[in-house]
């Protein structure tokens, strides 16, 4: 078996394109993943035109005004603003693809906002220009606009609630209040009640019941309006989120991304190499010569899986070393990495052997390996809840029958100390190794007789 393994490595070395791909592929994946997870997601570029006259302020009712809103700064914190001077310029930038969208605050925006506290309210509107040239971009733009609008509405609602709460406090507790430049003192319900209490003795007995009713009203109003203040505050954001996680602790996103990249690399390298190498024995007519007494079919199978494990291990470790340039990995868990990669490679190698035994030549088996592994890998990444329950059950079964998902789980567990244990995925992989090796062994019988 040692000589066969050396022979396969020698053949691999003699195939410059294949060898280069085996090295270049993980390096490329490492670079892509590294760049992707080491950079913050970029804010979309949005053209911004503010037609609101300078100095406009949002009225809070009763003659008051909200503090300066700082619209430009607030909007441009969420997106990368490209200031434009006119609607035409904004439209041109959107059409040319220079910006994702244009946001225009029309001149009457503040007037319309202020009208909300009058008897003839108008709907405040902002203008958005978009270029929905493809469905994906349209979805992104819509989501961004919805998020911006929700934030703006929340901000305004909170400001109004705060102002409302302040005035309510004035009514309950009393204080000074400016009306058209004139300072007015508000007595407040607390002091009304206590003043009336002090007057009770001086009021004629016939009028006391009426006074008692006024005192009761003032006391009730004071006590209940105290409760109203936090209610008004909650109106700005009535529903709060209390998130509880029922699953095991999830790994950080960057660790998961590295695990996905490493498992994809391992899948393609191991699966294609083992399947191709076994199919090559048939293509070169050497299978019959080898198994005609020189090596047993089981030994040949073990050698091919061993080849996949050796090369898959090397290439995946190379990829992880490349990712280390961008993301810190826990090298203290190196032993677990080896176990996870080795287990995944063995199962993927066995699956590759089953594929290799089923196809007649290297090209056909390479195509078959891609056609099988790519959709299964993608299916394995579908989260629960993203599709209907029945469909998800089917996806779970398909994913469980192929080594990608348990290999990914093992890799994630090996990379992340806070994640779930590695034992379950390794056991799953061991079952798949046995099953696929048995299938490959059966297929080799057919391999020889056709």
């Amino acid at each position: 078996m040692r000589w066969l393994l050396l022979k396969d490595l020698q053949i691999l070395r003699r195939s410059p394109l294949q060898a280069a791909l085996l090295v270049a592929y993980p390096v490329l994946i490492a670079l892509l993943i590294g760049f992707a997870i080491s950079r913050e997601p970029g804010n979309p570029r949005v053209a911004f035109l503010n037609e609101v006259p300078p100095g406009s302020r949002v009225s809070a009712g009763s003659g008051g005004e909200l503090p300066a809103v700082g619209v430009h700064d607030r909007v441009c914190r969420q997106v990368e603003c490209v200031d434009v001077g006119s609607r035409a310029e904004a439209e041109a930038k959107v059409r040319d693809g220079d910006v994702l969208a244009a946001l225009i605050l029309p001149a009457d925006l503040i007037d319309r906002l202020n009208s909300l506290s009058t008897l003839s309210p108008e709907t405040p509107e902002v203008d958005v220009i978009v270029n929905e040239e493809d469905p994906l971009k349209a979805r992104v733009v819509d989501d961004r606009i919805d998020a911006l609008l929700a934030r703006a509405n929340l901000f305004i609602a909170r400001q109004i609630a705060a102002e409302g709460g302040r005035y309510l406090g004035l009514v309950v507790n009393g204080g000074d209040f400016d009306v058209l430049g004139t300072r007015v003192e508000v007595l407040g319900l607390r002091r009304v009640a206590s003043t009336l209490e002090s007057l009770r003795a001086a009021v004629p007995a016939a009028q006391r019941p009426s006074l008692e009713r006024v005192i009761r009203f003032a006391t009730l109003a004071r006590d209940n309006l105290d409760v109203a203040a936090p209610l008004i505050d909650r109106l700005a954001q009535p529903i709060a989120v209390d998130k509880q996680t029922v699953s095991a602790p999830t790994p950080p996103l960057d660790v998961f991304a590295v695990a996905v990249a490493a498992t994809l690399t391992l899948t393609f390298v191991t699966l294609l190499l083992v399947a191709g190498s076994l199919a090559l024995e048939r293509e070169e007519n050497t299978f019959a010569r080898l198994t005609g007494g020189l090596v047993s079919r089981s030994s040949l199978l073990a050698e091919k899986i061993g080849l996949g494990v050796a090369v898959g291990l090397g290439v995946t470790l190379l990829m992880l070393a490349g990712v280390e340039l961008f993301v810190g990995l826990a090298w203290s868990r190196f032993g677990l990495w080896l176990v996870a990669i080795g287990g995944g490679a063995a199962a993927l190698g066995a699956a590759g052997a089953a594929l290799g035994a089923a196809a007649r030549d290297v090209r056909a088996v390479s195509l078959l390996a891609f056609m099988v592994s790519l959709p299964v890998a993608l299916l394995s990444l579908v989260p629960s809840g993203a599709v209907g329950g029945g469909l998800y059950d089917v996806i779970r079964i398909v994913a469980a029958l192929f080594p990608f998902k348990p290999a990914l789980q093992a890799m994630t567990a090996a990379l992340d100390s806070a994640g779930p244990g590695i034992g379950g995925p390794l056991l799953h992989l061991a079952v798949l190794v046995v099953a696929y090796t048995a299938i490959a062994r059966l297929a080799l019988g057919r391999f020889a007789s056709t």
């Binding site: 000589w3 066969l4 022979k7 020698q10 053949i11 003699r14 195939s15 070169e284 007519n285 050497t286 019959a288 010569r289 080898l290 198994t291 005609g292 007494g293 020189l294 090596v295 020889a448 007789s449």
Partner: protein, 234 residues
């Protein structure tokens, strides 16, 4: 080597229909017949690379050398690397010496470092045969060994095969070249549509032709053989 009642089916087609076969030590047996007669299937079963559906094969300690019809070589390895790999897999005591011997036999010493993929079909066949001879087996099975060889290489091949037979090796070969079968085969097995039609020497085959197809008795061996097949309904 002895085989009894060999049957092999591919789907509904019977490639071998109860064929018996034997080869004594030092005997050279030629297997001849038209395309699809079952020659390669018979040799593959004797080599142990495919299993018969019925029948048994007995070979001396399983010591059988096999030279398949299509070159069974690693094209991305050199001539020497191919020979060395198979010598090691054969567990040859002195693998490098065996390689040198085969390089000399095939006349490929000066091309030992060349990748097999760059060799001509004839030279690939020479390496293919050399690998089959590496272990000096008790029984050597050659499936159309001279295809692609030039006359000089053919003469060298048969010279070596005759030497092996002289040393006690049983040699079984299939061929489409009837003259070659007559010249080198001490005994001929004629197969047609999976049936063994004749088993005997070339002279005995001529006698059979004389009896069954007298009009072809005076013709050359190939013409007589074709007449024999036609007379037997093939």
């Amino acid at each position: 080597m002895e085989a009894r009642g060999l049957v092999k089916r591919y789907g509904s087609r019977e490639a071998l229909k109860g064929v018996n076969f034997e080869a004594a030590p030092g005997e050279v047996v030629g297997v001849i017949g038209p395309n699809g007669a079952g020659k390669t299937t018979l040799l593959s079963i004797l080599a142990g690379t495919i299993e018969p559906d019925q029948g048994e094969v007995a070979s001396p300690n399983g010591d059988v050398g096999w030279v398949p019809q299509q070159a069974a070589l690693y094209r991305r390895l050199s001539v020497e690397e191919n020979l060395l790999l198979f010598a090691r897999l054969e567990k040859h005591a002195q693998p490098r010496e065996a390689v040198e011997e085969m390089l000399e036999l095939t006349g490929l010493e000066d091309r030992r470092g060349e990748l097999v993929a760059r060799l001509s079909g004839g030279n690939q066949q020479r390496v293919n045969i050399a690998i089959g001879l590496l272990a000096r087996p008790a029984v050597l099975l050659l499936d159309e060994p001279s295809v692609g060889l030039d006359p000089r290489q053919r003469a060298r091949l048969w010279g070596f095969v005759s030497g092996l037979a002289g040393g006690g090796t049983s040699v079984v070969f299939s061929t489409h070249d009837i003259q070659e079968a007559e010249r080198y085969g001490q005994r001929l097995l004629v197969l047609a549509d999976g049936e063994a039609l004749f088993d005997g020497s070339a002279a005995e085959l001529r006698d059979a032709v004389r009896g069954e197809a007298p009009e072809a008795a005076g013709s050359d061996f190939e013409t007589a053989f074709v007449a024999f097949l036609q007379h037997r309904g093939h």
